[in-house]
């Protein structure tokens, strides 16, 4: 933990990253700005050097994370340089300090000391305002607007412009979320440069010229983009317009005027009415720094925080815009207990007091642990905690299971999982924090992605990889079923692998191999090379083992990049049936003694417990007495139907939840918990980096660990986790583990399955923006999601008599998903579906996952013509699940 306690004895369980030491620059340049001498590394721009010594030069187009442009000309300064004779000579024109590198002996005179610089800046400012509307009172940017501020500090009080301003119809909607008021735009090109340089999505560009120059949306007739011309359903968003970008919200934030705004925030608030609290985004394992802006207890917007170690100043649109779920109308605000009908059957959930709810919960759990009837099969309590928990909350679930419920039946994996994965996590991941970091992505000569679609599942890692690729430092190779648009923008090489054959492909990456496999083997031998594996590999037998073999063979370092924010914390605190906190194996008696000592208990359960899948299977078969479920959506599970049956069958279910869900509908006791914005805590990134965040809103809701502390109390056990400070003190005391680790998995690559006619192997992964539960309540964002399509190869399409855009039906015995076909360069006999997009709820509809065989056929025309088909087999829920 970053918060250290005075009794700290060992390395904390999840230690903070060491402070990066500033590397002494090789070459420095000494020069003066406004008479102040300063030394900066060679190559430093004058405008940056001025910032360093507290001299602010006004600017619009300049942005430290974008390449210099020199377009706005606001940052002009007077510059004197020493000539060959050593005498200072004034450069004839004022220079743009955002494009000018400092040179030895240079003398820079800014607006503070040079009348020429001051006049130049005032002149540019007056020109910028010529065509800028005076609508600050109704502009979202008013109050936090660089143009407004700098017009005050570096502009004339009145304008001499009495002529006709250029106007445009307003606004243009670039996507459902991003709006553009062209008349406000000062054409600094920050947004277009961001789209080209950072995101690599060309969804906006400059059009026309002179005073009519404007930012425009994609229109091939006007812009004629080179390459990547979006056509067909595969490149559309859910509203049917060309897909824009997952990172479009960043352009709103870096726009120095109010030209780009978001539909979600437009006209909602004035910046000076907002209270800002730093936060950490809860949507993925990247742990992006954000700023939560709220007013009188309501979050109005989120902005990217500035954190060079993690997300620079960028966040995904999901991190920025998907926050309405935390205050959704279906929030649970009081404890609920299920009433019993007169005949003893379960009735409705009814609000009750905390005292009663905890008593009922405790009584139910105790009865489930020790039934009155010794012949009762349904015995024991298991804990299922989803992948979105903070470190503190996950720890509380882990400890509750072991201490209060006397079981290792605890699993944090609400997704496809395997015993091989569990061994991999215990062997390679748990307790090994910060071994591979974001900074390593910047430096790696080669990065192999396996079962990881970086743009969809790890947005910040994608941006950092792209930055390294653009700088020609890194080459990316991906083992996946197809080369996604994200991989193309990483200039990546695809090692095509049908789902289930990842292990075979990984085992083929050997120096002696021909072509791309051999090249990859050579690249991975370079110092600093990385292999990043995604959680999807759990559904591919042998893949994790093969990844371990590969890295042992090549010397590349291996990191696990899960999707959800709580996955790494869950591993670290032992939310796994075979693992205790810090990577301590349950089966290791020394490890148990270690933990028992800190927890102050006699002993801990000795046998490894059951996994999520085993727990649910046993529950459905009547072999489980009770369940404690937290932060988990049934539709996320590999077999949601089994999960529903299991929860229906289990005699007693306690649910800790923010919002009403399929679990709370089946629970006997529902205990409300706080969403991230209403509690403090620590998310842990995929790197193992703790990301503490404070409570933003005043709330009487409790964090999970506080509720669990009270529940344990009702069970007669003192958990000692009633406050963040208490949890942190204990985590610090626990420390790391230097004993034996879980054995590495050694699963061989399986034989690929035979695919019969009319069948295909299912490939699937989540889109960043989809039908996930944490994106509800934000229709503007939902409109920018990619439209769901079924991808298949030209060969497969031909076999089925399908053309691009025709509707294809993918089915199992459980159901059918019908989507437009997108013919894609990928292996034959494989069909790809988005895991949980509108019209494509793979797990819920098909009860299948990547690597499973599905039936595939052209959709019956009458169904397509009648407009039936899209997700008609999905249960009648308006909200799909999964984050």
């Amino acid at each position: 933990m970053t918060i250290t306690s005075p009794q700290q004895t060992a390395t904390p369980l999840v230690p903070a990253a060491p402070v990066e030491r500033a590397v002494a620059p090789a070459d420095t340049v000494t020069f003066t700005i406004d008479g102040l001498e300063t030394s900066v590394p060679k190559g430093t721009l004058v405008i940056r050097a001025a910032e360093e010594i507290g001299i602010q030069i006004p600017r619009f187009c300049d942005h430290p994370l974008l390449a210099p442009a020199g377009a706005c000309r606001q940052c002009l300064v007077e510059v004197w340089t020493p000539g060959r004779d050593g005498n200072l000579a004034k450069m004839p024109k004022p220079q743009a300090s955002c494009t000018l590198e400092a040179t030895p002996g240079m003398e820079v005179r800014t607006q503070h000391t040079s009348a020429e610089a001051d006049k130049a800046q005032q002149g540019v400012m007056e020109l910028l305002l010529v065509n800028h509307p005076l609508d600050c009172p109704v502009c979202d940017k008013g109050g936090e607007c660089p143009l407004q501020n700098q017009a005050m500090s570096n502009g004339r009080a009145t304008s001499r412009f009495v002529d006709i301003k250029r106007t445009f119809p307003k606004p243009i909607s670039i996507s459902t979320q991003i709006l553009l008021d062209r008349e406000r735009c000062v054409l600094c090109q920050r947004c277009t440069r961001f789209s080209e340089e950072v995101a690599g999505d060309v969804w906006i560009d400059l059009q026309k010229r002179g005073a009519h120059q404007q930012i425009g949306t994609f229109d091939a007739d006007v812009l004629g983009f080179a390459g990547d011309v979006p056509t067909g359903a595969a490149t559309q968003d859910t509203t049917g317009r060309p897909f824009a970008s997952y990172f479009s919200g960043n352009t709103v934030q870096i726009c120095p005027v109010g030209a780009l705004t978001s539909a979600a925030y437009r006209f909602r608030s004035r910046p000076f009415d907002l209270v800002s609290t730093p936060g950490i985004a809860e949507h993925d394992s990247q742990g992006s720094a954000i700023r939560v802006d709220h007013r009188r207890g309501v979050v109005l917007r989120r902005l990217a925080g500035d954190d060079p170690t993690v997300n620079h100043e960028w966040v995904t649109d999901k991190d920025r815009f998907a926050f309405a779920w935390q205050s959704a109308p279906d929030r649970i605000t009081t404890p609920l207990v299920r009433a019993r009908n007169a005949d003893g059957t379960p009735g409705e959930l009814e609000p009750t007091s905390w005292v009663e709810a905890l008593d009922v919960a405790a009584a139910g759990l105790l009865a489930a642990q020790a039934p009155v009837d010794p012949r009762e099969e349904a015995v024991g309590v298991a804990v299922l905690a989803g992948g979105r928990l903070t470190l503190e909350d996950a720890y509380a679930y882990s400890k509750l299971a072991r201490v209060a419920l006397d079981t290792n039946d605890v699993d944090g994996r609400a997704r496809p999982h395997s015993a091989e994965e569990e061994a991999f996590l215990g062997h390679h991941v748990a307790g090994r924090t910060l071994e591979v970091t974001f900074a390593d992505l910047d430096r790696a000569p080669a990065v192999l992605l396996v079962g990881l679609e970086a743009e969809e599942e790890a947005g910040i890692a994608f941006l950092r990889l792209r930055s390294a690729v653009v700088k020609k430092r890194t080459r990316v190779v991906s083992v996946a079923a197809l080369a996604s648009r994200g991989l193309q923008r990483l200039a990546g090489t695809l090692l095509a692998a049908a789902p289930g054959t990842e292990a075979e492909v990984l085992d083929g990456i050997v120096a002696s191999a021909e072509g791309a496999l051999g090249d990859t083997a050579a690249a991975l031998r370079e110092q600093g090379a990385l292999v990043l594996v995604g959680e999807r590999l759990a559904a591919s037998p042998g893949a994790y083992s093969a990844a371990l073999r590969l890295t042992a063979r090549t010397g590349a370092r291996l990191a696990w990049v899960p999707r959800r924010v709580g996955e790494r914390a869950a591993v670290e605190v032992g939310l796994l049936p075979s693992l205790l906190p810090g990577g301590r194996p349950v089966a290791d008696s020394a490890a148990r003694v270690d933990i028992a000592a800190v927890w102050g208990v006699e002993h801990l359960p000795e046998t490894p417990g059951r996994s999520t899948g085993e727990i649910l299977a046993d529950a459905a078969a009547g072999r489980l007495g009770g369940l404690v479920v937290g932060g988990l959506e049934l539709a996320d599970l590999p077999d949601p139907a089994l999960a529903r049956a299991a929860l229906d069958r289990v005699p007693f279910v306690v649910s800790l939840e923010v919002r009403r869900s399929e679990v709370t509908d089946r629970a006997d006791v529902v205990l409300p918990v706080a969403p991230p914005v209403e509690k403090g805590g620590t998310f842990v990134t995929w790197e193992g980096r703790p990301r503490p965040f404070p409570q933003a809103l005043v709330s009487h809701e409790l964090a999970d660990h506080r509720v669990l502390d009270r529940l344990a109390d009702a069970l007669g056990v003192e958990l000692g986790l009633g406050s963040l400070a208490a949890v942190h003190a204990e985590l610090d005391q626990l420390g790391g583990w230097d004993g034996a680790r879980v054995e590495a998995p050694t699963v061989p690559a399986p034989e690929p399955p035979a695919v019969e006619a009319g069948h295909a192997v299912l490939a699937t992964w989540h889109q960043l923006l989809d039908a996930g539960r944490l994106q509800t309540g934000e229709p503007f964002l939902a409109g920018t999601a990619k439209r769901a399509v079924a991808r298949l190869s030209a060969g497969t399409a031909e076999q089925l008599g399908l053309a691009d855009g025709d509707r294809v039906a993918v089915s199992t015995d459980a159901g059918t998903i019908t989507l437009p076909a997108a013919v894609t360069d990928m292996p034959d006999l494989v069909v790809w579906l988005p895991t949980n997009s509108v019209g494509s709820a793979v797990r819920d509809t098909l009860h299948a996952d990547a690597g499973d065989l599905v039936r595939i056929a052209a959709a019956p025309h009458e169904l397509a013509a009648a407009g039936v088909g899209d997700g008609e087999d999905a249960p009648g829920r308006d909200e799909e699940v999964g984050a």
Binding site: R73, P94, K119, G123, E126, L206, K208
Partner: protein, 446 residues
């Protein structure tokens, strides 16, 4: 002794079918190439350096020195790009040259490419001149067929391909880095320098960008030698150049003469100002160069003398305006051109020309205010030297120089429309009825 014409590039223009390869060869064409191929490439560069040839596109940068800026060969490609995007108001030399004698350019390109180690050269020709595009294309085909282009040119082992590219009609694409972006298929806007094209130009490779006339002058230098070239012109402005006389002159046209000739001499050859009128003002090098008046008739038209007199030699586009012309109207038209052609990249040029045009239109209509002249001068001061590229600077030149010499006409713009003071039909060289008569305008104003 009066300076006489020095026809080199224009020597064949009156020959029958002057544009054909046969005519060119019959008159000594491709002797320069043969000579160049017999020399080490470095000697050709030295010869051009010694000749003192300066860029004919306006800036007057020594051509040989520009070639010398290329880094040492690294095995990768390096390019020659010929800037044939002639679009400056008044400038009309490259287009007739390419039309009448295209082989001059092609031979020059081959020699230049040989000198700088380029195997793929480009011509970026202005999009509007389709006839020139077609003629150049045909001429390149002829050169390929005759073995002057392609593999192993004239058995020398030297290879060269020429690609002819048609622009899309943007003034900014005459700026060399915007031209390169446009040639690469990108939006034509100037690039940040450094890196300069010599280091990272087309496709980020070392690139020489030269004007049509500069390259077309190279064969003559190779044949005649640096000393022959230096005999013409002045000490620092050597050689011959095309002087394009247009406007109120009896015989407008291309006059190829040694640099340093005066307008008075040129006017003598051109039959003087049109009958019954006097010279009022003129541009020495296109609309982007500050205007001159009758007092500058004897300024030698070389880089140094014109510069010393407060203007620039530019492209030697001598637009001649007689006493019927309203300076305010002429400057307003030019400014509207700059407003229309501003690429939009930088604030001063984009917004400044937009504003200048409105102020000038007010003055032209006789609705100016007493503050407008100072406003124009201050705006020009806020644009000049503040813009991203030189085109913003160029937009201010006609305004500041016109106010310098004809301030009273701008002052008149606060009360009388320019069309009343200078009825446009009097300026026209052909029958012309203005859409609104001067009397009407006067009536409106009264």
């Amino acid at each position: 002794m009066a300076t006489t014409l020095a026809p080199v590039l224009t020597d064949l223009w009156d020959k029958d079918r002057s544009w054909t390869l046969a005519t060119y060869e019959d008159n000594g064409g491709y002797r320069g190439l043969r000579r160049a191929l017999s020399l080490p490439a470095g000697d050709v560069v030295t010869m051009v350096k010694d000749s003192g040839l300066r860029g004919r596109g306006g800036a007057g940068f020594p051509t040989g020195m520009k070639w010398g800026f290329l880094p040492a060969p690294d095995g990768g490609p390096r390019y020659l790009v010929v800037n044939a995007d002639e679009s400056e108001p008044g400038t009309c030399k490259d287009i007739p040259l390419m039309l009448a004698s295209p082989q001059h350019l092609i031979e020059g390109m081959i020699i230049t490419s040989y000198a700088i180690g380029c195997h793929h050269a480009f011509v970026y020709v202005r999009g509007e001149v389709l006839h020139v595009y077609r003629r150049l294309l045909k001429s390149i085909e002829e050169a390929y067929a005759a073995g002057y282009l392609g593999k192993n040119i004239l058995g020398s082992g030297f290879d060269l391909d020429i690609t002819l590219h048609s622009g899309a009609g943007a003034y900014i694409c005459g700026e060399e880095t915007a031209l390169l972006d446009s040639l690469e298929g990108l939006r034509g806007q100037p690039r940040l320098k450094p890196p300069f094209p010599a280091v990272a130009g087309l496709y980020a490779r070392p690139t020489v960008v030269n004007n049509v006339e500069s390259i077309a002058s190279v064969p003559g230098i190779v044949v005649g030698g640096a000393d022959w070239f230096k005999q013409m012109g002045t000490e620092k402005s050597t050689g011959h150049g095309l002087f394009s006389l247009s406007g109120h002159v009896t015989r407008p046209g291309q006059y190829e003469a040694p640099l340093g000739i005066t307008l008075r001499e040129l006017l003598d050859m051109a039959g003087g100002i049109r009958e019954g009128h006097e010279l009022k003002f003129w541009t020495p090098g296109g609309s982007s160069t500050p205007i001159f008046t009758a007092e500058h008739l004897d300024v030698p038209l070389d880089y140094e003398s014109v510069g010393a007199a407060g203007s620039m030699l530019g492209t030697r586009a001598l637009q001649i305006f007689d006493d019927t012309t309203s300076v305010v109207r002429a400057v307003t038209r030019w400014t509207e051109f700059y407003k229309h052609e501003s690429c939009g990249k930088c604030t001063p040029c984009r917004e400044g020309t937009y504003w200048l045009a409105q102020v000038l239109q007010r003055l032209e209509a006789g609705r100016g205010t007493s503050a407008d002249i100072d406003l124009l001068l201050d705006l020009c001061d806020n644009i000049l030297g503040r813009a991203f590229c030189a085109l913003g600077d160029g937009a201010t030149s006609p305004i500041t120089s016109a106010i310098q010499y004809f301030r009273e006409e701008f002052e008149a713009g606060t009360h009388t429309p320019a069309d009343v003071l200078f009825p446009p039909e009097r300026s026209s060289l052909f029958a012309y009825t203005p859409r609104r008569s001067g009397a009407q305008l006067a009536g409106v104003h009264a």
